[in-house]
Amino acid sequence: MRALLRDNDRITPFELAVLMVIVTLEMGVTTFPRTMTEKVGTESWLIPLPGFLFSLLAVYFLVRLSKLFPGKTFVEYSQEILGSIIGKLFVIIVIAFWVSTSARILRQFADVMKVNLLFRTPIEVIIFSMLLFAAYPARYGIEPMARLAIIVAFVTIPVGLFLFAFVIPQAKFDNLLPVFAQGPLLLLKAGFLSVGSLEGIELLLVLLPFITQPRKSLKASTWALAVLWSIIFIVNGVVLAVFGEKEVMYLLRPGLTIIQTIELPTLFVERLSSVYVATWVALIFPSISMFLFLASTSLAKLFGLKEQKILIYPLTPVIFALAILPSNVLEVENIANFLEQIGVFIIGIMPLFLFLIAKIRKKGGSY
């Protein structure tokens, strides 16, 4: 028991994979069908194919970087590769990105909660309570969070997919056509840009040194990506097949609206969307905890502190302020789009760039 309580700084490759899936499946997935349909129209359901390949490339380079610098996180190796000043600047950008992403997720979550469940509760109260609860596990290290993610994954993902199954009878698969009408290049570009919305990959920047069997981290990450893109494929495809291209583009959260359309004559449970929102609550909780952990761990490493937990609660007012900053849903969506572009830079471009510079400057271990 004593060993169990003290061993809180290592996770298995399986736990890493579950964390990657859970962290990515936040509110963004409900808006994903709209943002992708805006980019490529009816072909948006095919984006998971190039998206999987590009995200796999990003994961590959992150794992290679971790092998070049064993036991080091991106905070250390980016300073070794890019030099102290540029490296620190990159680390600060990534930390700011994580803090802003937590705020964005919290705000989107609070907006959905207010519309669907807590009509009279002020948005500040929803954000504040969720933030404090999410900060608590983040103080106790990576292992409790990984266990929490496993429990959440095995409860919420089957429930979410089960609810989606009710929608399939409404699907008109003609809505998925035409395919490749605009050529494959647009699809490839959209697939590359979609990598920016996969926050789960960013875990590898910090978590790879915490893995018990580092050799299995690539395999575990690949499985995580496969599961993740399969879920996105199902959500995207079903949403597009039910609503069609034009309607999807006018819906703020098509992934949520679709659940509100469920109508079955034998169904004795009303307002199924409430059940769906409740599953999202559980999904969002580990995401915010994880981003708090990543930001505090990176900050602690940047300033040479041995404990990250002292930075968790001091980060919460910053996240709270950022979360209540946008005055309406439109502003939240603009911020989300901006963060997605930063995500493309951090995940789509930087791992390859860092790897190439490390190779040219002969930094790190053996090649």
Partner: protein
């Protein structure tokens, strides 16, 4: 100048006494809980950092509240 004016108008709208208590609470937690915990673990630097974070949070939150309520 436009950005500054936006920040001030946002603060006027969102920075209320509840937010001040939240920041002061975080500051007090840093000073009395985290700093002591770090000290008992023998982490002197972390204890000091925690204390300074706490003090600066309390001071800044009160200063901002005075700014929002009486000056802007």
């Amino acid at each position: 100048m436009v950005i500054l004016s936006d920040i001030f108008s946002w603060m006027k709208y969102s920075y209320n006494i509840g937010f001040v208590f939240f920041i002061i609470g975080v500051g007090l937690g840093s000073i009395f809980l985290d700093a002591n915990q770090m000290k008992s673990k023998g982490l002197t630097r972390e204890s000091l950092v925690s204390k300074w974070i706490g003090i600066s949070y309390i001071v800044i939150s009160i200063f901002l509240y005075i700014l929002v309520e009486f000056i802007i």
